[in-house]
Subunit: 219 residues, 6 copies
């Protein structure tokens, strides 16, 4: 039986998982690993605070431990990469986090990436993450849309906010590629791209693509 | 009743807590806040992996929530600063982590600080932390002694390892101040200082001192 | 007789010294070291140019040499830290500079600190200092209020200027903590905090608090 | 007809192209784009100097222009990424360079990557490239084996040199992942991995994997 | 016969060469090396894309090879420094690039240099170059005037655009020295200086001055 | 009467001034500014501590003020650049410091410059200076020879120490260009170059060359 690449949405919002799942369809291939998107029912409704991130990290790792037998790898599909470095302690697995994968991919699409965050409070956390990754000099800036994960359900308002943020990133921060800073934004990639005229990185897609490559290459 | 500054040892090793507690005596003052060192019995025997750090983060936050009524602040007394940014989401508290406090203090004692880590595997985690803090350019380097937290109980071997590491940091990495990279090393500060001839920062001491200052200054 | 921590205002403006002195009251403790604020009568009316800084450095060191017998340490209380690294060449003393202490403290209060400078010409000097300290990546930005040290005496205009600068740092530079970039601003901490809604670091307070900690810890 | 991903070896050494081609087999998939490895007959025998790089850049771009009709993308398969940013000026193509792809992938496999260069003179060029990419803080170091591209044909001596260099990178530079710094080293990945005990990134593989992902994702 | 310092304009625009030539007059001295400005007739009308840069690099190197016998050195007089590191592989020559020389000189004239670029698309290329040089922390920012090299011929519109860009760099990016980011802007130095009130670095001048110094000093 | 470029040796060691003066001969030209090397008799015997630097800064500025009428510019010829930023506050002068000029010039001669310091205690001061200049990423490292300025008088021992240090910088730190970190080393440039086989930057020469260029260019 083919092993699975588990894409773990660590919040309990199944609409977010569905959005990720749909976005990943384009990466599913005959003979490729099964890409299975899962929701952590015990997760918070949205990973919005550091406390959420820390709890999510533990849940993500617990999920991974429980699913090692049929797993080829794990993607922690929240933009704060909860549990990423813990997942990497499990030998024999490909483990990736979606903010990392998004940034690394964006670095091949433009010189300066701009990030659309959900909440203002997410930004300092992201800034620490970019610095820890060593990619801060490629960041153009971050702009938040002031919406919780739950509030992303309102598509019109969310897209309007994202387009406005994207234009600020493009015109004021001089970004030439955008990164959507939340897994819950997955379904807006195309419309955002149209609205702003820059390539838009959907982080789960970018990261799963890298994970699939690593699986084929054997590390 | 005076509020307390809780110094939380997130591992279950009471000898470590006792070592921290003794090291902090010099900071206790008439009229100052009560400095109370606690052990998290449900913590791991040592915080040695990222999984340990993530679980500790949740436990530290839970402890803090439970003790808000009589708390003035919290110090997460493990060199991976588990739960630090989560603690900072609790309003009205002074929250500090000991690697942060140690680094910031070391930056006033020398130009390049060298860190003595317990395990080789701790070093990449620390490197990410220094980068996230934005202080990497002040790091001379890290050298591990290859001992778990439990193994620190063997004082002679531990001190010998620390002195050797300290000399490498001094002579090869050109550190001019040392930071002990584990709360469980607290009792070795003086002997290490004597052995290597550089100022040695005990991270719990350095951090509690900063926390006491912040308490007096009202943020 | 208890040794003294000398807080040296290197300009000749006694109102500035009085402001520092009042700000430090909260740090004075029974049994703690005497905190003595002094004015260098031969100093410039304000340390506003590099020439001022260089002369102040020599005066600060001379003062320290003259007061070694009863000194436990020295704080050079001007935001250009005149004489700091020279003071550090005097063995057995705790020597600190207020811009260094302010930055290191601000790094525990927020992710990106914003600095309110007195004069536009101070900013390049500060930028060199942050870079030399290795903390530039944590700086949100600097905004000047265009007032000399003497002109800080006009409290209403000064506070208005500081509040305006603080709001620009908060809203445009995305600072989440402010640092007052002159010892002569000490008395405005509370009003500025109220006006801008961010924690405000008064540099002499922050630095003396760290110095007191270092004195207790024996380096 | 399926479009092609052209992997361009800009030197004229067909053994190098064959090595790349074999290394990429694992990435070829039913229904995936055709991965076609080509040799630039007019290229230098090895891209070893900056003059080689500059000439290769022009040749790579010329090849790409000539093959636009049936191309989905281009990978410039020399570790100096000749022509990469020129390729990126051709709209509607996925263009990647193998040092970039190698570094970005290595950043998901370890904290500090070490690079095995062919010649000492390649290293300053690589250092400029890592800095331009903004990833220098993740570089552990580079060690050269002192062999030209042609000399890589001697497998035993080359592998011995690579293993020795890899061990220096692991033990002295503290790398936890290795990058082979020349497309002509492709066939040594497994043996090097065995010899050094660290994951080894073969740059053409890593980069083509990322390119395939980008092709699926539509940018 | 005195050897020559060749200043190579790699585009075919002779007006640009004439502008450089006039700007360099002030550096010509009795007994100094002959400063000869040349136009590469086969160059592009303007070096505006990366493809232009790469082709120019080859042409510049070829010119240098052809003129080694009577050359003391070479300056590649285009702001993308085409061929600079290739020129440096020719032993016994002083080789310089004008963006490098301009930046290094600007670093002695102010704390933060602002660059006036011709086209928006030039800026990412420059950002990579500053990073590769290791001087990014001294860059205030870049602003483009949206004109091709050919369009610089319209002096009034060009100067107006440059003055506007310079003021944005001064007031928004806080530059205290300006660098003209194209050799074709040489004739505007004085007027721009007057319009903006900051020192303006003309890159060919700055670089030839450094080259003359290196020639005298024998490396 | 031609204005003078004053090269100020801020220590009282006339042998050092004579060494600088001889080194600058090659830069003296018919019609060029008079290059006048002066000794500050009231300076310390060597600028070896930060206290020395601070006092020298004041003396250098005082000298400059006294000689403004016939001065075209000033070079502070001590590797700690005492008074540099103060000199720059005097309008209408070209003011340069020799560590700055040396570093900027070395950046055109190699990728990573290595510095030979006189004393171990000079190195932290230099590290702060490179960081303040923003050029740290180009520094390979510093090695001291453990000799005071006075002890440089013993030519054989000094050169032996410098050659040994230069080889460590070349072989261990991977420097490809050396900078002599003291004005008192001027006479060793050629022998050191021969001994180590790398280009050697004599800082007074490099800096005066840049100053002469700036004088001709009018800023």
């Amino acid at each position: 039986m083919a092993k699975k690449l588990y894409v773990i949405n660590p919040n309990s919002n199944t609409a977010v998982t569905a959005g990720i799942d749909a976005a990943l369809d384009v990466l599913r291939q005959e003979g490729g690993p099964v890409i299975e998107c899962v929701t952590l029912a015990e997760g918070p409704p949205g990973v919005q605070t550091q406390a959420d991130v820390d709890r999510a990290a533990v849940l993500v790792r617990a999920f991974a431990e429980a699913h090692r037998p049929d797993a080829a790898g794990f993607v922690t599909a929240c933009f704060s990469d909860p549990g990423l470095h813990s997942l990497r302690e499990i030998p024999g697995m490909v483990s990736m986090g979606i903010s990392e994968g998004a940034a690394l991919t964006a670095m091949t699409l433009g010189q300066r990436f701009g990030v659309i965050a959900i909440l203002e409070a997410s930004i300092p956390r992201h800034l620490r993450a970019w610095a820890a990754m060593g990619v801060s000099s490629r960041l153009a800036g971050e702009v938040s849309i002031g919406r919780t994960v739950a509030e992303l359900a309102d598509s019109d308002a969310t897209l309007a906010g994202m387009a406005a943020a994207g234009k600020v990133l493009r015109d004021t921060h001089r970004a030439d590629v955008l990164v959507m800073g939340c897994a819950g934004m997955a379904r807006f990639r195309e419309s955002l791209q149209d609205a702003v005229g820059l390539p838009v990185v959907e982080p789960s897609q970018a990261t799963v693509a890298m994970a699939l490559g690593r699986l084929r290459l054997g590390w």
